[in-house]
């Protein structure tokens, strides 16, 4: 695929370049300006809300699909993306980890069957992380549909572990996710880009990408 990256020189931009190595980068935009050597089929943006107009402009101009993983997008940013989705496929999510997304879906489907069981969450991250519990732990707790006591360990360089533990009198059921590299989100972006290339115009969540389900307009 021919693709473009907005925020190419940032940490996540560099990860995307690595993970998309088998594909052809024909468009990059960052603080140093724009480089263009062809028409991208999909434009990726995992940078900052400020860059979003550049991304949307490029998608409009090239009729390219759009994959946006920027965090801290506001309501007007999302509205602009929904508007773009009337013309091209747009995938937007705040978490592009396939494993976390699947874990969330599992909990939403099956936690109701574990109603009589106790549930708690344990998460571990590197000792530089300041917030606790992690955003992912909060999201997983919500997916269980109940209050889960949550325990946060801050240790060394742990990239990110999350475990949801259920137990009754005779059994323990544990669902665990563990990030093993920074490429997690870039791998999710690759899956989203492949999905977007085949999708009809419309607005999609990463959950729909993971389910490989196309939503009718």
């Amino acid at each position: 695929m021919k693709y473009g990256i907005v925020g190419a020189s940032g940490r996540m931009g560099q990860e995307l370049l690595k993970v998309f190595a088998q594909h052809e980068c024909v468009y990059t935009a960052d603080v140093d300006g724009v480089r263009e050597s062809g028409a991208p089929q999909v434009v990726l943006d995992f940078s900052t809300p400020k860059a979003l107009p550049v991304t949307i402009g490029a998608c409009e101009r090239f009729k390219a699909a759009c994959v946006v993983g920027t965090t801290a997008l506001g309501e007007s940013d999302l509205a602009a993306l929904r508007d773009l989705a009337a013309r091209v496929p747009v995938v937007q999510s705040f978490n592009f980890s396939q494993g976390v997304t699947i874990l969330k879906m599992m909990l939403r489907s099956f936690a109701p069957l574990l109603a009589g069981w106790d549930a708690e969450i344990v998460e571990a991250h590197h000792n530089k992380k300041k917030d606790a519990p992690s955003g992912t732990a909060i999201l997983l707790g919500q997916a269980t549909g109940r209050e889960c006591p949550t325990h946060s360990l801050r240790l060394g360089g742990v990239p990110g572990d999350h475990t949801v533990v259920f137990a009754n009198d005779g059994e323990v059921l544990e669902l665990s996710h563990r990030a093993i590299s920074r490429s997690v989100f870039a791998l999710g972006a690759l899956r989203a880009a492949e999905f977007a290339l085949r999708a009809d115009k419309g607005f999609y969540t990463f959950e729909e990408v993971v389910e490989c389900r196309k939503r009718p307009e």
Copy 2:
């Protein structure tokens, strides 16, 4: 509830008596004969295929629901239970662990979304267990819909651990079940009995009990 047990003096019969302590046992049958002090609403049988006619006879006589966890039932035994199910609710399964049943359902639903991930199974049991891999490991492997290399540890008195591990380049997802006491199956039988009391006549699997879904006839 008023309940009866066929095979009351066996190991599993004793477990059932302990777990059903809040309910009233009004009927027992075992090698020493039958004791009857009332009409059971549900009859439990986790003994041997030989005892099945006694169980079915008691259910017919008392119009009692039937919960059968006997392993090694043959085709004719299952046919007799299906016949009984035309008159009373019957719950039959070879595994009454709620956790294993839910894990199996999770894998069946979500393993297809993990198609690009590697998958392996690790199970651990006490060193007296002779078969490997365990029946539960085989069943979980089947629920993934693919070949899973399976590793069997035989160690001390471990009651039974099962872990299904999925990994791709950036993430690991683990689903684990661990039996913490012999009462697992008796607790499942209690849940099945409570379900059967409220169910219409018909034949139910333990999966339906766990889902609390009544199947139309």
Copy 3:
């Protein structure tokens, strides 16, 4: 071996009888009185401080070794046991789990080499347990020689899990203990009794039993 039990009818007394099934019980004492059919070589007491004089009396009379696992012994109780130890082998400890004892020893020996690593403790117990953190978690934390943030999960019927996690920027080291049955302490008592039979008079901790090291008088 010929052995005796003080507090034979209690929960722990019953566990001891089960685990010592290959040996000969010739002396029991409990609230219902004393039964004696021979001279015990070792007397076990895992009951209450009140029973200690009976235990000491029996050891004096039979020249029997003494294994005491009673919790909440006071200073005068310990003094009485030390006095007894001038004549017979006495093993006294507040925790007869071999695994916990070995884990404690490992931490005491090796935590100093992990000085630059972060350390935290996670423990899980059944939801009936009222204190948190567990006594064992406190003991393991002390063995690390530093402050360890400790997380307590209270879930279903979990008998008792303890994990000490160390991590630096590139590695995680975890030491975990898990009780799989109530017989843990009775198995430790058996090991202590076998040790005491071969030991010289003297006062021993369970750590010395586990190390199989005889302390000179």
Copy 4:
């Protein structure tokens, strides 16, 4: 510290440069030649046996300490390093992971106390790894002093997990190590370099570095 690297352009050389960022690199040697801007106090070599003469030459010339993590060194290479150790401190090891080294020491010290327990090893690595079991699993098995059945999982991008499980009838004890980044060995090299700067001339293993014990000549 002022340091030098032999094999600076290789994968491990690059890792060393990153981890030693706070120190001053004054000497590098690789296929492109030698660059020298000062006298290194310690020279690091995690490259190939062929490069060893360059490393030894530099240490002799600068009176620099030597840290060698090259695998596949032969007897004559080790002899040359022992000869160098008569004049400067030399740290040589085939595994510079602190966690694995400590785990190995724990097993050597405590596995004898777990003589009556069953023991097995489970290791997981990325699916590109061809050998099984891993060299580290073999090394940990040897440290237990007994035959340990070993299970190798090959999954996605797992950097390297090792677990030694012990169990008896009532307890499970698990010792686990997990690499969370490629910087593991470079962090170990840093610790070795800091040790070597303060050490007397002599030949040291990484185990001695971890123990911070100086061996008398």
